[in-house]
């Protein structure tokens, strides 16, 4: 689970992430830029009002309220770029890894003779360079 809390989150970071979440939320509600800017400034003002609170009990209470408010006013369709996680085109294009080509059938390989000749050459070169750099791999007794 990637989103398990693995460390203590400081108060500052909590405020910062709340601010960012609030802005993202506003962004999906107010979808013209100038309107969004206006509301973002209002939101900044709300944060700025409470920035000098030294009493951590009140500050904690406020931040809990703020998180609740953000959660309650979530948009049903948050604004996401298509390639970012959760967007429509996220992980849409599957690129097969390069080593897949090595597993082609010889008959398939025979259809692209020049490419595969070059590829073998490059492979040999790579192994050579590797051994020059790191030395011969120790024989694995299995």
């Amino acid at each position: 689970m990637a989103n398990l809390p693995t460390g203590l989150i400081s108060h500052t970071r909590r405020v910062q992430s709340l601010y960012k979440k609030a802005l993202r939320c506003l962004e999906s509600w107010y979808d013209r830029r100038e309107v969004y800017r206006y509301h973002a400034i209002l939101m900044r003002k709300r944060f700025d009002e409470n920035k000098d609170i030294r009493d951590l009990r009140i500050a904690k209470d406020l931040i809990a309220q703020g998180e609740e408010e953000v959660f309650q006013s979530n948009h049903w369709h948050p604004r996401k770029f298509p390639e970012s996680p959760g967007g429509v085109a996220y992980e849409r294009v599957v690129t097969p890894p390069d080593w897949m080509v090595d597993h082609w059938h010889p008959l398939e390989k025979a259809q692209y003779p020049t490419y595969f000749a070059k590829r073998e050459e490059l492979k040999k070169q790579f192994i050579e360079e590797w051994t020059k750099k790191y030395g011969k791999p120790s024989p694995i007794a299995h």
Binding site: W29, E34, V35, W76, H77, P82, E83, E91, R92
Partner: protein, 571 residues
């Protein structure tokens, strides 16, 4: 010659051919039925039947025409995709199964096409291999599976009547309870395929497919299969079923129109608009006007395909971005695409003399003429207004205003092949309605209405347009209405919670029960009273016996001798 071009030419040829045949059949009032008897079991013959009349030929020609355009279009849309061949093959398989569905008046051969549609649409929805497509494909396939099962059950039930050619029995379905079951099942199948209310959650989800697929499959062909089936069966619907269908159709229309007003995904808005139009077709069908439903089906297929193609063009230019909040001001950079977009949108709204007008206005007027309650009247006109409303909201977001995507982007109208594919359709989108009207209704409908009712469609459209513009307009310090009514917004935007109902609502308790049973039965008691315990008992016995046999050799021999002596003693 690319594969797209080959299929484009083939489909276009067959489209023109079947259109001409359809005209010929229409003039001669002729229909052709081919039967090939496969085998006969229990005096029930299994027949491959092909029915060619003007209706099936006309529908075929439209489907082929749209698919030829879509295939031509996808040459550029899918450009650089390494699986383009698979894509085109799948689309052609899809068209093939649609053909099978259209021309067969026999439940078994319908099932061939029907199941083909289900399978191929699943393969097309999961064409992009990410989690979203996978989920969408699963819900699409499983929802359609309900309809397949209903159709299979209908086939099994029709065995009682000695044949699967439903067209022969069309007049007697109403008469007996046994036949009534068939028509119930058929109605269920049609409702799943046409995404009517309990089953509508798959249609917006299926927008995870590539846009050409949405254009062909999820707007004009696949979802109309259910309507087509009902058109073929319409004489068999009893009045009760008609009322149920009418209710469901109107509710779907209203639900989808409402949902489209809250949606931000370009393709999903169009999908919901499709759903709304499907509701319209089903409800006019339920009023007994099957020809009008067919008419609207054809015109809708035209402008909806074009609408999706325009949307695809925009999405393509915006590098896969579908969110309309990122668009805006596209009219300045993509004038031709936006013109097409506007034309098909207005055809959808029913602007006079575009193709949508002829079918939609006729439907509304026929509805006004008929003797119905106020609920039906209000919901019909309200949904019409909603259609215009979301259309104008869409236009406002996409075409007007400032551009909201990346600051640096290159958007233009240079995609030649896509524009050509769209231009192939635009002519029919404009004139298709009037043309079809002259063809299909040689004697015009007689409409006699008071002025207010006659003008009602225009009034609701006008108000819809106004609201659509007004509701989505932003001023600097405005109060967001949908934010202050958040709960109802959530309800409407999620299609009346239908996606949750048809996923979690169905799965939650069975899965919970399954996990319990797995824990207690599979991994628990049945292991304890079954294999594991048996094995441990046996191997304990084995250990015990091994212990016994570790005795001295003498003892065993003594035991044998005792056995012999006992035997002698008992003699």
């Amino acid at each position: 010659m690319s594969i797209c071009l080959i299929y484009f030419v083939t489909f276009l040829f067959f489209s023109v051919l079947s259109f001409l045949l359809s005209l010929n059949f229409m003039i001669l009032d002729y229909s052709l039925m081919l039967e090939y008897e496969m085998l006969s079991i229990n005096s029930c013959s299994i027949i491959m039947t092909i029915l060619l009349d003007w209706m099936s030929l006309l529908f075929m020609s439209f489907v082929l025409f749209i698919s030829s355009m879509v295939i031509y279009y996808s040459e550029e849309y899918m450009e650089g995709d390494i699986y383009l061949h698979r894509f085109i093959m799948l689309v052609s398989m899809f068209v093939l199964s649609m053909m099978l569905l259209i021309i067969s008046p026999n439940l078994i051969s319908i099932l061939l096409g029907w199941d083909g549609l289900g399978l191929v649409s699943y393969c097309l929805v999961i064409y992009y291999q990410n989690i979203k497509s996978y989920n969408a494909g699963m819900i699409t396939a499983l929802t359609n599976r309900i309809g397949d099962v209903a159709l299979l059950m209908a086939i099994a039930w029709m065995m009682n009547f000695g044949g699967f050619n439903y067209i022969f029995y069309i007049d007697v379905y109403k008469n007996s309870m046994e036949m009534y079951i068939i028509i119930l099942l058929i109605m269920l199948a049609a409702m799943t395929k046409s995404a009517q209310i309990p089953f509508s959650s798959w249609l917006p989800a299926a927008m995870a497919a590539p846009t050409p697929v949405s254009s062909l499959v999820h707007s004009s062909t696949l979802v109309t299969a259910g309507v087509y089936l009902l058109i073929r069966f319409n004489f068999a619907l009893t009045s009760n079923l008609m009322l149920i269908l009418l209710f469901i159709g109107t509710m779907t229309m209203f639900m989808a129109g409402m949902g489209a007003n809250f949606e931000f995904d370009l393709k999903k808005i169009i999908a919901l608009s499709t759903l709304s139009q499907l509701g319209l077709m089903i409800s006019i069908l339920a009023l007994g006007e099957y020809q009008l439903a067919f008419f609207h089906l054809l015109t809708h297929a035209l402008f909806k395909a074009l609408l999706f193609m325009c949307a695809g063009c925009m999405i393509h230019s915006l590098s896969n971005c579908q969110d309309i909040r990122y668009m805006g001001g596209l009219i300045k950079v993509m004038p031709l695409t936006c013109t097409y977009f506007m034309i098909s949108n207005l055809a959808l709204c029913g602007l006079p003399f575009l193709s949508g007008f002829y079918s939609k206005d006729l439907i509304l007027e026929v509805l006004s003429m008929s003797y119905l309650n106020i609920y039906i009247y209000v919901i019909f006109f309200f949904s019409t207004g909603l259609t215009v409303c979301y259309t104008f909201r869409l236009i406002y977001y996409v075409l007007v205003g400032n551009f909201c995507f990346y600051s640096l982007s290159k958007i233009n109208d240079n995609s030649k092949i896509m524009l050509q594919g769209m231009s192939g359709l635009i002519f029919l989108v404009i004139v298709g309605g009037s043309m079809l009207m002259w063809l299909m209704f040689p004697t015009p409908y007689f409409i006699c209405l008071p002025f207010t009712m006659k003008i009602m469609a225009l009034i609701v459209s006008f108000f819809g347009a106004w609201f659509g513009f007004e509701l989505s307009k932003f001023t600097l310090n405005d109060s967001l209405k949908s934010f202050y009514l958040l709960n109802s917004s959530l309800f409407f935007s999620s299609m009346w919670n239908m996606p949750y109902i048809s996923t979690f609502g169905l799965n939650y308790y069975p899965i919970k029960l399954g996990s319990k049973l797995y824990k207690t039965i599979d991994q628990g008691w049945s292991e304890y009273y079954g294999s594991q315990n048996l094995y441990s008992k046996i191997s304990n016995t084995s250990v015990f016996l091994q212990f016994m046999f570790n005795n001295n050799y003498k003892i065993f021999m003594l035991l044998i001798m005792m056995w012999v002596i006992f035997m002698i003693l008992y003699i």
